[in-house]
Amino acid sequence: MNPHLAEVQRLLVPESPNLSSPSVEFIPQLYYAIHQLKKDPNSSTASLETATSSIRHRLKQCKAHLAQNNECRELLSSTPAEWDVKLAQRQKDLDAKRELCRQLALQVERL
């Protein structure tokens, strides 16, 4: 896998063994934090802000990674459908270049 995409996935889904169907595990963590808060609402140290700090930290890390990495940004800035069109055009260009190569070879042979 592309290392930049793998890094994004590692930040958002840190312990997902199945890479083909990753799922964000933030909701259970939130549910547990809210549950703890509900159990002991008078605790001065317990707050949802503190409990969700790790989630927000990972989200920020992921955003920073996307913002800093040009290649990853360029790859993700287009939808798969748009990429299909772009790649089809590139393939067409490549075919044209190959045809040019073939014609040059023919001309050289004729000489």
Binding site: L37, L48, L66, W83, L100
Partner: protein
Amino acid sequence: MSTSFVSKTSGPERSGSDRPNSSENQLGKAQIYNDICEYEETLGRLVTSVDKFHPDIQSARDLIEADKKLSDTLKSLQSYDEIDSRARRLDEEHSKTDTKIARILQTLTECHRDLNSLPMLEQVEFERNTMLKQREKVFTDVLLDYAMKLAKFTHVPPTFDKGSVGPNNFVWPAEDAMRRGMLAIASLRASENGNEKLTTQDSSILQQDAPNETGEEYTGAPDADTEVRDRRPSFEFTGAAVKDVEEEKQEDDIDLDLDLFNAEEF
């Protein structure tokens, strides 16, 4: 909620909209980046409401929705990975093809330059024809020199009107001079004075004697003096003479070709 988020986040990011490939614009187009921002926003609202002891159920629902969207976007990373692989393969193929085309064009350019530096076939043929024509020509002075040599051993042409030109102006020798052989006399004199060289004095005597004996022999041909002076004693078959002949043969073959004198005939 999500719409308001997009309007909030897209505001400052649109500053680079006039540059389609700017980083802000690219980030604004990246679905996963927008989903993360939305997730952050919704989570912040939920946390604030809970910490204020006024939990907002709508925020919780929005967060669940955002989580679902982010999970879906994460699933699409696999297809992005395939796209990346295809794009890399195509880029590699492009690069190889570009290199190949550049090499072919460079080789063709070098061949074109080499071919242009070669002379044209028409030019070569023209120069060859010119040289051949030049070789076919016989220059007047060469022809006249040869004619003067021949004249020394040639009778007067039977059709020539002897009354028109005086004997002194004849280019051919008199009959008796031809029989005696002017060159034979020169040769004899050369042998008397030694085989090594003919001195200038001898040659001058020879030049003085020759007109007396031959009459009109040297009147119109000053070059013949030089020929007489330089002529080898080829008629005496001594070793030195042969050596001299060989040396002279190496020096000037044309002179030998034109030497029609044979001492044995006299």
